[in-house]
């Protein structure tokens, strides 16, 4: 009702006042909020780089940062859908703990009894068992929330305690180690990365995909004679995306294996180490690839499928969604199943990285995941949020943690800073939304 006064002249007046920046933003249709987040991330990185005397923006640190963000980033993609439908999931850390434990016990204790220690099926079966367990736990939560109408906060608060206890119970608190060697690749490390050549291949495929999507979107819009973005804007976006992708690949390829591993590898393969050492690049880490793949799949799910459309519609107006004939309960249950599955993927990454399953794994991860989603622009009042934003939020949280460790900030102070940043970030977002509406 606010703009019943003829909007057309107002718009044209506004257009004539627009500066070059505004025209640029309009032409490229970029999300200003997302840009703001990337800007904040860049500022944080540069500040840490300067304060740490040039330690932060190094291939090594950035590579490790990407690996450390992977698990939380994977879970944050699911948390977006949970929060968009006005729910919350406090149990993801505990689900990670219990599914990690289940996968650990499966591959260390049970599966080798039937398959032998060297069977290649062990790691695959272990992951499948973990995923099924995660989805089943999510289904239980979802059923209680959607069909028995118990608030998600309570159900998942209960789940937080129950599944943490269950993780403890599986082995009476014993740590399970070591993991299957193939399973371990999911956690990164020198072997858990795809090497320089494949990284370039992945990068080039990603660039080709970006160009294809821009071209395809343009073709679709032309088919229906919708207004098109100016050609220079399309070219600019494509170029920026490709430069960023190839830049990231270059960084991953600039981080060499540590000398010890190189020596062992050279000995095992009878390679003579040249003077000045042998340079073998890590390339993109497997957990990072998993996180990116999950991010792409979840973005597809959220924006291109009916399921995703219904998730957002429910978040915007649950009653309207129900009146439109959407089975809101089943959708809610599916969201929690998805969240449980993603927590299991997170468990794969973190148990593989630690090379052990412990009953404390994932403790407090639920808060990092929620914080990542919220910093990434997911509104707790529902209906708003993006997968990409949540993943950037996860990287941002991890950047803070890593940066403060590099600076030697005390643990208690680290927590104080992270907590304050969360509140300030959401406050800034509230102001932004009020202005932009």
């Amino acid at each position: 009702m606010s703009d019943t006064t003829s909007p057309a002249p107002v718009d044209s007046a506004r257009a004539s006042q627009q500066g070059s920046v505004a025209r640029f933003m309009k032409a490229t249709e970029l999300d200003t909020r997302m840009l703001g987040m990337l800007g904040a991330l860049a500022v944080i990185w540069i500040i840490f780089h300067v304060m740490s005397g040039g330690l932060f923006l190094t291939p090594r640190n950035l590579w490790n940062l990407s690996v450390q963000s992977a698990s939380v980033a994977v879970m944050a993609t699911g948390m977006v859908l949970v929060i968009v439908t006005r729910n919350i999931d406090l149990s993801v850390g505990s689900i990670l703990g219990v599914t990690g434990m289940i996968m650990g016990v499966a591959q260390v204790t049970y599966l080798p009894q039937y398959l032998g220690f060297t069977s290649p099926a062990i790691w695959i079966l272990a992951i499948l068992i973990g995923l099924v367990a995660g989805v089943a736990i999510g289904a239980l939560h979802g059923y209680i929330i959607a069909y028995m109408q118990v608030p998600a906060f309570i159900v998942t608060l209960g789940g937080l305690l129950v599944w943490r206890g269950a993780a403890w119970w599986v082995t009476s608190g014993q740590t399970v180690a070591p993991m299957n060697p193939t399973f371990r690749l999911l956690g990164g490390g020198a072997e858990g990365a795809i090497g320089a050549t494949w990284s370039w291949v992945v990068g080039l495929i990603a660039c080709a995909a970006v160009i294809f999507f821009i071209w395809n979107a343009r073709k679709q819009r032309r088919r229906f004679k919708f207004p098109l973005r100016p050609l220079w804007a399309e070219g600019f976006l494509g170029t920026v995306a490709c430069v960023l992708i190839l830049g990231a690949v270059h960084v991953a390829n600039s981080y060499p294996w540590p000398a010890g591993i190189v020596n062992r590898y050279a000995q095992a393969n009878n390679i003579e180490i040249p003077e000045g050492g042998l340079f073998i690049a890590h390339g993109i880490a497997i957990p990072v690839l998993i996180a990116i793949a999950v991010g792409i799949a979840m973005t597809f799910l959220a924006t291109r499928t009916r399921f995703g459309r219904y998730v957002f519609a429910i978040g915007g107006n649950p009653e309207a969604a129900a009146l439109a004939g959407i089975n809101t309960r089943w959708i809610t249950m599916k969201i929690f199943m998805l969240m449980g599955g993603l927590a299991a993927i997170g468990a794969c990454i973190s148990t593989a990285r630690l090379n052990a399953a412990t009953n404390a794994q994932g403790t407090l991860d639920e808060l990092l995941v929620i914080a990542a989603a919220v910093i990434g622009g997911t509104s707790l009042s529902g209906g708003v949020g993006t997968i990409a934003g949540a993943m950037i939020g996860a990287v941002l949280m991890q950047s803070l943690a890593t940066g403060m460790i590099l600076l030697g900030v005390d643990s208690p102070l680290q927590n104080i800073v992270v907590g304050a940043v969360l509140v300030v970030a959401v406050w800034l977002d509230t102001i932004y939304r009020r202005r932009v509406g």
């Binding site: 924006t303 957002f312 519609a313 915007g316």
Partner: protein
């Protein structure tokens, strides 16, 4: 007219919530190309009765016939399958998504791969909105940013785009200015000429009396009476709404005031 098969016939419908009879033994019918106004105070049970037809509530007792055939409507999807479309008083729009997403909510167009065909939906939306509200241009914005009239057009577009045979309009003009109200009236007449049956629900008789062919008045969950608008005056209908007094020109229902005889 009474010899034809009614488009909709709801007979002896009852529903109660926690012991309160929201609708008690109510019967109404609707013929093709007819506008029936359902009148009554707030809480008279008219919205509840109509929500049973649109599938939002499930009746406790009674039968619903569409084109003379018994139908079982247990959710909004069923109702839509029988060509029953509803424009709710609250509009029932998902405020955070755009007009096209709302128009096709629950009935999305999909590509051969099963993904959402957003461009096709936007294109259809541009067509239907172009007819209803030619000045509407804000296809990319979430509907929460639209004006009351624009939101109303989105809700109307959603109801008429899918070849509705029966249209339910719950307080269609409550949130609108005079000009937009006139547009809605025009639309009602146009749809009526297309042979669509329309239920108009209102608590204000002045909104609907001139548009309607018949009025059905409800009070305390019961039907007071049914009358052709030609057979009764507005004052008599007001008497039905307020007192439950059935005038000679109307057919009394179970809720009519019993005059000691």
């Amino acid at each position: 007219m009474e010899n034809r098969t009614p488009l909709v016939e709801m007979s002896n419908i009852s529903i109660s919530f926690g012991g309160i009879h929201a609708v008690d033994d109510a019967s109404i019918d609707l013929f093709p190309g007819e506008v029936v106004a359902l009148l009554g105070h707030n809480g008279a049970g008219k919205s509840t009765l109509i929500k049973i037809l649109s599938g939002a509530y499930r009746r406790d007792a009674g039968t619903i016939r569409v084109n003379g055939e018994d139908v079982d409507i247990s959710n909004p999807r069923d109702a839509k399958r029988y060509g029953i479309e509803t424009i709710y008083q609250t509009l029932a729009l998902a405020d955070n998504v755009d007009a096209a997403a709302n128009l096709f909510l629950g009935r999305e167009l999909r590509t051969p791969w099963g993904t959402l065909d957003d461009v096709a939906m936007e294109s259809e939306t541009r067509k239907v909105m172009g007819r209803l509200n030619p000045r509407f241009q804000r296809f990319k914005e979430p509907v929460m940013k639209l004006s009351g009239g624009q939101r109303q057009s989105v809700a109307i577009a959603r109801a008429i785009h899918f070849n509705a045979r029966i249209l339910i309009m719950d307080e269609p003009t409550a949130a609108l200015g005079p000009q937009e109200t006139a547009q809605v009236s025009e639309l009602v007449l146009q749809l009526k000429n297309d042979g669509i049956g329309i239920f108009l629900i209102s608590h204000d008789i002045h909104d609907v009396f001139d548009l309607a062919d018949r009025v059905v008045v409800m009070k305390n969950g019961q039907v007071v009476g049914t009358a052709r608008t030609g057979d009764v005056s507005q004052d008599e209908v007001l008497g039905m709404i307020i007192l439950g007094k059935c005038p000679p020109g109307a057919v009394p229902g179970p809720g009519a005031l019993k005059i000691a005889a």
